[in-house]
């Protein structure tokens, strides 16, 4: 089973839920934890990971062979991203605008365009212990999009294990890329109007992708019931409510797992998983 941990709003507790859940489940059977928040991956900070593999993620950038180039401008016209300009003296390529799609090569009538690869990030694969394997993607500073890093990371999904993926925040394309092929989405939100607003956006993506979901309310409060009302009227189960608790916040800040410090929560995460497993099978 493949479970993505999602949140519209950042900082709601996605990583807290993903790391603690992965740890609890790994005490029972084989689990793989993947961190797809490639702009700011944090899950690895909660474990000692022994990395075994590091794979470069690359895109192909065009380069022009001046001998063959006629300066006809067909490449610049074909490019949808404004990444190519033609001057009397030659062709200028803006690497930061290039999507690495290869369209310019197709458009060139004299095959003057060749491609070089450029590293935009890495995927790191490793092991936390026998029961818990780990993978993460890391986007290089200055690179615009982590989608390709996520796609590369997902090639390492181990179907023989229960897979927990820590998704990027928001609702844009990296989230969609992460959710593709998932069996379930845990929506982590916080009990504020901001949390609710962003939860609605994220839930609309998950719903459109036909993935079953449930909600975990973090920093739950008796003063703010609107999340529960939203869940009820949209028929989305509430899987768990984690109250605001200074101890939990402190164990997060130190990089420790609160299920290890609070036995009660270990059991509550086990039950959370049982609720999900019931839906999938």
């Amino acid at each position: 089973m493949k479970i993505a941990v999602v949140s519209g709003k950042g900082g709601t507790g996605k990583t807290t839920v993903a790391t603690n859940l992965a740890w609890v489940l790994s005490q029972k059977g084989p689990v793989q934890l993947l961190d797809a928040d490639v702009e700011e991956p944090n899950s690895h900070l909660f474990f000692h990971v022994k990395y075994t593999e590091e794979i470069d993620v690359e895109i192909l950038l065009p380069r022009v062979d001046k001998e063959k180039c006629l300066l006809c401008g067909k490449c610049a016209k074909a490019c949808q991203f404004g990444a190519i300009s033609i001057f009397n003296t030659g062709v200028l390529i803006f690497d930061n605008l290039c999507h690495g799609c290869g369209t310019c090569s197709i458009a060139c009538p004299t095959k003057a365009i060749y491609e070089i690869s450029k590293q935009i990030g890495v995927v790191k694969i490793g092991q936390i212990d026998e029961k818990l394997t780990f993978g993460m993607g890391l986007l290089n500073i200055g690179e615009p999009s982590g989608v390709r890093v996520i796609r590369e990371l997902k090639k390492f999904i181990d179907n023989s294990r229960t897979v927990i993926i820590d998704a990027p925040p928001g609702t844009s394309c990296p989230v969609v890329e992460t959710l593709r092929g998932m069996d379930y989405a845990i929506m982590v939100t916080e009990a504020t109007p901001f949390g609710l607003h962003d939860l609605k956006l994220a839930a609309s993506v998950v719903k459109e992708m036909n993935i079953p979901m449930g909600i975990v309310i973090n920093r739950a409060s008796e003063d703010y019931k609107e999340i529960e009302e939203f869940a009820f009227s949209n028929d989305i189960p509430i899987l768990e409510k984690i109250p605001f608790d200074r101890d939990i916040a402190t164990s997060y800040s130190k990089g420790s797992l609160f299920v290890e410090e609070k036995k009660e929560w270990f059991e509550r995460f086990e039950r959370l998983y049982e609720k999900i497993a019931g839906v999938i099978v």
């Binding site: 690495g100 799609c101 844009s172």
Partner: protein, 286 residues
């Protein structure tokens, strides 16, 4: 005119809490919410909508009836956006509108169509203009939409002769975060004293340096983990980065959030005092 962006690598560090409060303290300014994936500033400001603009971020391919399922498009597509079948289809979420399949198709069956990927708005809260946007879920062109939000804010600031544009930035370090800070006069980076906060702070500092912007740091909820706070301060000293201020953990911040109000409306809150000091320092700098 000066542009000031408030950003944080990590989400949920208190970026909107700070920018909502600064917005309350600033005078003669325009606000811009650049977190177009998950915009929250309008919830704090309860603005009245003045203008709505459609945003066409890019194009998507469409396969027409003359498709013979030859598979040539699938061979050239580098985004896994072609779904094979008796007639081929495009996965609109994966398609980047690059045009490769259009050029390669021997039947001329594929066309690129303009695709609407969001809306952006001009609103007004009292006398304060706010430009903001909503990216349609699953879209990729948030950098472009953020550029539109900032352009709109600048235009209004010029028309109304406002002195500052205050930007609530997008989280992360990718195109959304970069578009929030390119060309601004000053960047305020909000950090939290956690192990992940430290990790993400270093990455957003590197990103801000990459775009050669001046910046300073605010540590939010500093007393949740004073050891980590000291670590951040030491690191900043070593790197020659100014710490603009520290905001204490204060239940009043949460209560204000539930009421969707900026915390500085509450004069008694310890967080308010800290934010006022940060504002003073910011005014000295810019």
């Amino acid at each position: 005119m000066k542009q000031i962006a408030i950003v944080s690598g990590k989400g949920g560090t208190g970026k909107t809490t700070l920018s909502g409060s600064l917005s309350f303290l600033f005078e003669n300014h325009v606000m811009a919410d650049c977190d177009v994936d998950a915009p929250n500033l309008h919830l704090l400001m309860e603005p009245k909508l003045l203008e709505k603009h459609e945003y066409f971020g890019g194009k998507k391919a469409e396969i027409g009836n003359s498709c013979t399922s030859c598979g040539a498009c699938m061979d050239v597509c580098r985004f896994s956006a072609i779904i094979p079948g008796t007639t081929y289809k495009i996965d609109p979420y994966a398609c980047e509108g690059c045009n490769a399949c259009v050029l390669i198709c021997p039947e001329g069956a594929i066309t690129l169509k303009e695709s609407k990927s969001g809306d952006y708005f001009l609103s007004k809260s009292g006398d304060l203009p706010l430009s903001h946007a909503l990216l349609f879920p699953g879209e990729e062109t948030s950098g472009g939409l953020i550029a539109e939000v900032r352009k709109l804010a600048l235009k209004v600031a010029e028309q109304k002769n406002r002195k500052y544009v205050v930007i609530d930035g997008a989280p992360g370090i990718g195109c959304a975060a970069s578009s929030s800070i390119t060309g601004v006069n000053y960047v305020v980076i909000v950090a939290e004293p956690t192990i992940s906060g430290m990790h993400d702070l270093q990455r957003i500092v590197e990103t801000t340096r990459y775009f050669r912007r001046n910046f300073g740091i605010v540590i939010n909820k500093f007393d949740l983990n004073e050891v980590k706070t000291d670590e951040i301060i030491c690191w900043c000293e070593k790197e020659g980065i100014e710490v603009l201020g520290k905001i204490p953990f204060d239940p009043e911040v949460r209560n204000s959030a539930i009421k969707a109000e900026p915390v500085v409306k509450n004069e008694k809150s310890p967080a308010t005092r800290a934010i006022r000091e940060i504002f003073q320092r910011l005014m000295e700098i810019v």
